[in-house]
Symmetry: C2
Subunit: 342 residues, 2 copies
């Protein structure tokens, strides 16, 4: 698209018979005689002029672009968050560059590098956060110019040492609350369907749940923690394995709703019932879960708001240059996928 096919400011200036400088000023709303301004605007309109964003950015003009990195836009969790980001972006006339890493840390770094090359105004990392200091160092190095500046990065997830503004879902507390809720409902035998443990999000949810059980003196056998990819099918497979090994759990906690959905399907496919034979709980409260049968008990996160707040955070100056942390969500929503044990 770099062919001679684009109208330039010079073309407009010539058509309006003014200098380049004047044309630029007219287009950018600076003081120009109304008469000339009109001529320029008209010429621009007639020629269907679109300023070259690259030239503008290069010359130091405004360039309204933000970068967002997530695992997978097609996952309802990220889609919902992205929805919030998009809303704020639209309100601020920002163009969003979205990248899916498909959970590959290398790709995450590569994308951040590309966003840096694009000189994105702000960078948002959603659900990043790997339990890997080596990786975090690399990310930090990549993010350097942004970190030095005035806080134009925000993350949604916990990072071990990265000093950036954070919107933190209450993963640990939420999972703990879920454990408490299930204990109160009389459950004593649990199983957990977990995702890749290198993700801090997973670690926190699993950790919070376990800790609370331990506090209550309830054991969680290693065999009852089954790991799988962070997807519907991952949940299905994990639950199937659990069933295969003849688990005695009465309550299964999946660290993400999408996994819980798969788990429910697996239970049903065995001819068992949720919640009569086994209670299933999830995490996230993605929109669809209230329309399932039975509707899913889960830990609610205000997903759209997560995205909104994160972008707002990245967009507002941070004069004190201190890491701002916004904790959100974490309430247990009990629906019909979990039953009281009598």
């Amino acid at each position: 698209m770099q062919a001679r096919t684009h109208v330039t400011l010079e073309d407009v200036a010539r058509a309006a018979d003014v200098s380049l400088a004047t044309a630029s000023r007219a287009l950018n709303g600076m003081r120009v005689t109304p008469h000339l301004r009109e001529r320029v605007l008209l010429a621009a309109e007639r020629l269907a002029y679109t300023p070259n964003a690259h030239a503008r950015a290069l010359a130091g003009g405004a360039h309204r672009t933000v970068g967002v990195v997530c695992h997978d836009v097609s996952d309802p969790y990220f889609a919902a968050i992205a929805g919030g980001v998009m809303r704020v972006a639209a309100d601020n006339d920002l163009l969003v560059m979205l990248a899916s890493t498909f959970s590959d840390p290398e790709r995450e770094i590569a994308y951040v590098s590309m966003l840096r090359a694009e000189r994105a105004h702000a960078i948002l990392l959603i659900g990043s956060g790997f339990e890997d200091l080596h990786w975090e160092r690399a990310l930090e190095a990549e993010l350097k110019p942004y970190l030095d500046g005035r806080g134009r990065v925000a993350v949604i997830s916990r990072h071990r040492s990265l000093r950036v503004d954070t919107v933190l879902p209450e993963n640990r507390a939420g999972a703990a609350a879920m454990a408490r809720a299930m204990l109160e409902m009389g459950h004593r035998r649990f199983a957990v369907l977990t995702g890749p443990p290198v993700l801090t999000t997973v670690a926190d949810r699993l950790g919070g749940f376990r800790a609370e059980l331990r506090k209550a003196g309830v054991k969680l056998a290693a065999a009852d923690i089954v790991e799988g990819p962070f997807t519907r099918d991952g949940g299905y497979a994990a639950m199937t394995r659990l069933l295969d090994q003849g688990t005695r759990a009465t309550c299964v906690f999946a660290v993400a709703d999408v996994m819980a959905i798969g788990a429910c399907a697996a239970v049903r496919d065995r001819g068992l019932s949720v919640p009569d034979d086994v209670s299933v709980a999830g995490f996230d409260d993605i929109p669809i879960v209230r329309d399932l049968t039975p509707p899913l008990t889960t830990v609610a996160l205000p997903l759209q708001q997560l995205g909104e707040r994160a972008l707002e955070l990245a967009l507002t100056e941070n004069p004190e240059r201190r890491r701002r942390v916004l904790r959100m969500g974490g309430e247990v929503v009990v629906r019909a996928s979990t039953a009281k044990l009598t």
Copy 2:
């Protein structure tokens, strides 16, 4: 982010004690004495140099960026398509600029303009297509530089006159097939939950369904076509209205799965049963619908592939400069949300 905080090629060249030109060549893999190349690469590494994508684009170098415009990323339909786009983008080292219009045609045009300003390699319009020639003219004007070039635009949806490469879901044929399937199951009284009629996608689905009924001599009363926003809640509200007005339909066809999901909820909330009291069918086959109870009968679209093919289309040269049209999907998948009428 335009402060003096970024390392430039000049810095690298100086550090490596070579000229700018040599540094550029070394970094871009052109012929340079191995000895010098290594020095440059090392210097670049040490300084954490990231080329300025704007400068590069401006100077005519490669700039790997594509623009995607959709209604709302958080909608499962678009999310799934976007997933496909992301996959192909990742394979091609492309950065994706994603914009949500929230179904506002003005905003759609504004975004295309921004993408044009960014000199995006390719532009993808997903589910665009308004039944509004005035709008289409404006869009065409905005897209001009891309249309003149060698086919770097693709759309997923039908446009009336826009001459661009198209990945076309079989909306009309799919809806017709659904009508046939329902007729074969014995239904004779129908209702349709429809979206904004200005969307060609909606028009085609509604049109295909109606035409097939008419062909079979089955009437569809105007009162039995209820319109609502293209969302879960829109479907819920529409179905509620239908129920309120005492519809006698035995089968309700929603022009989108998300609406069908809302419709099912509305039916249940009335204490009625899907499919015993009323059959519900949708369109799209978004991933979640097979996990609903009952699983949703729908017209299947290979959503992810839609996105993949569209981007591939936009990325491949089109020497003959003819509009390429790829028709996809449209098979009826009968699940348990629809019942035979005896």
